[in-house]
């Protein structure tokens, strides 16, 4: 097992360097919809990480038996089955959070991140590296969700995990909640800002200005 180092880098690369949300534009849909509070963000992160890790493992085990032409359907059905299990589990034990997440748990099925990992990685690698890779990507996704959820809940309500952190002005404190933080636009602004901040630190992630029409280049 000389691959310990590479396992470690497979696990940690997606955290910041190859983050699935901020760099690869995968799985954004749910990342924005469920981040109004920490609790929903955390639940979603855990659900997705479980689904992606198990899904990658299962698909990797049977990767030699899936005919190439119908592989997408096979992968989706496997992922959908896992999502159903997770959804039933959440409904049974975390009914409130399950209601708050509404259809977004089910939408893990079509989360581009899950299918992206099985399609690009688990299809060509053994079960263990596939699961490590999927777990790392799940963690990278979770990191973004938890940062966004924390910011939105803290500034939108002055709470973290439902507990009051900043004293509200209505109740004699000093903090006036920014209700915009709980609405859709702020999620986009925050993620845009996060991408900007990340790319300022790691300049190798900056996109080349490839969408500039070539004929406008010599104008400068």
């Amino acid at each position: 097992m000389a691959e310990r180092v590479s396992y470690w880098s497979t696990l940690t690369e997606p955290l910041i360097k190859q983050n699935p949300v901020t760099l690869q534009i995968l799985g954004i849909c749910s990342a924005l919809a469920v981040t109004t509070t920490m609790a929903t963000a955390l639940t979603m992160s855990v659900s997705l990480t479980v689904v992606i890790t198990l899904g990658a493992g299962i698909i990797s085990v049977i990767r030699r038996h899936i005919p190439d032409t119908i592989r997408l359907i096979v992968q989706i059905v496997i992922i959908a089955s896992l999502v159903i299990v997770i959804d039933q589990f959440l409904q049974a034990y975390f009914a409130d959070i399950s209601r708050a997440l509404s259809v977004y748990v089910w939408l893990i099925t079509t989360n581009c991140l899950v299918l992206g990992r099985t399609e690009t990685y688990a299809r060509f690698h053994g079960p263990l590296p596939s699961m490590v890779d999927a777990f790392g990507n799940g963690l990278g996704y979770s990191l973004v969700l938890i940062v966004l959820g924390g910011i939105r809940e803290l500034f939108g309500k002055g709470e973290l995990f439902g507990a009051q952190v900043l004293p509200l002005a209505d109740e004699g404190g000093w903090f006036t909640p920014l209700s915009l933080m709980l609405l859709a636009p702020s999620a986009f602004f925050l993620l845009g800002g996060l991408v900007w901040a990340l790319r300022s630190v790691r300049s190798e992630q900056v996109e080349p200005p490839d969408h500039t029409p070539p004929e406008t280049e010599p104008a400068k």
Binding site: C29, L72, A80, I84, V103, A187, V195, E207, H211
Partner: protein, 204 residues
């Protein structure tokens, strides 16, 4: 009639798929670099959503909903947990069928936006449309209008974003904002604009 129309407007603008429900953002951002591809994607979305949401509604009501097998002697059977797999299967089949029909009979249309069709199988907005239809208990007519309306809403949003991004390709952005970063900020601004439609429904 006006009820149908206002429901259509509700689905297209108030419950706009990418801007207020955050659905289908991956393709929304990836395909909005050029206006032509954005338009093709928008049309494909409208067709697929308009077909699959009512079809999924029929499947759900006839086979999946609690008590749907009452006529066969199983009144307690509740298969609604299987809906996810049924919906995904039906969407994949519809997309495949649509692509084959277009390729065979309308090659020009297929060349124009056929490339986007396979993408739509795993599009959150398509599946999301069907799931919202179940969660909100729409009738068959409502779900057809909802599917078409949200497809049109998606098309409007993606074409608008692509137009803004085309303008911005001449702008000198900070390096870190180029591409994805500015797309998010623009989407946020558009979402802010669409939020004003929510006030409109109150007066409808």
């Amino acid at each position: 009639m006006s009820e149908v129309w206002s429901f259509f407007l509700f689905a297209a603008f108030v419950d706009n798929m990418p801007l207020t429900l955050f659905l289908g953002l991956c393709t929304f951002l990836a395909m909005s670099r050029r206006t032509e591809s954005a338009l093709g994607l928008g049309i494909a979305m409208t067709i697929v959503l308009g077909i699959t949401v009512p079809l999924n509604h029929m499947i759900y009501q006839w086979f999946m909903a609690p008590g749907a097998w009452g006529w066969a002697g199983y009144p307690d059977l509740d298969l609604s947990y299987l809906a996810l797999i049924a919906f995904i299967g039906l969407i994949a089949a519809t997309v495949q069928l649509l692509e084959m029909v277009l390729e065979r009979f309308f090659p020009a249309i297929h060349a124009a936006f056929g490339v986007f069709l396979p993408l739509l199988t795993v599009q959150c907005a398509i599946l999301g449309g069907s799931l919202f239809m179940v969660e909100r208990n729409y009738t068959l007519g409502q779900s057809a209008v909802f599917g078409l309306g949200s497809g049109v809403g998606f098309a409007v949003a993606v074409v608008m974003l692509s137009a803004i991004r085309a303008r911005l390709s001449y702008a000198d952005l900070p390096a870190g904002l180029r591409g994805l970063g500015i797309a998010f900020i623009l989407t946020g601004l558009m979402s802010l604009g669409f939020a004003s439609f929510a006030q409109m429904t109150a007066s409808l």
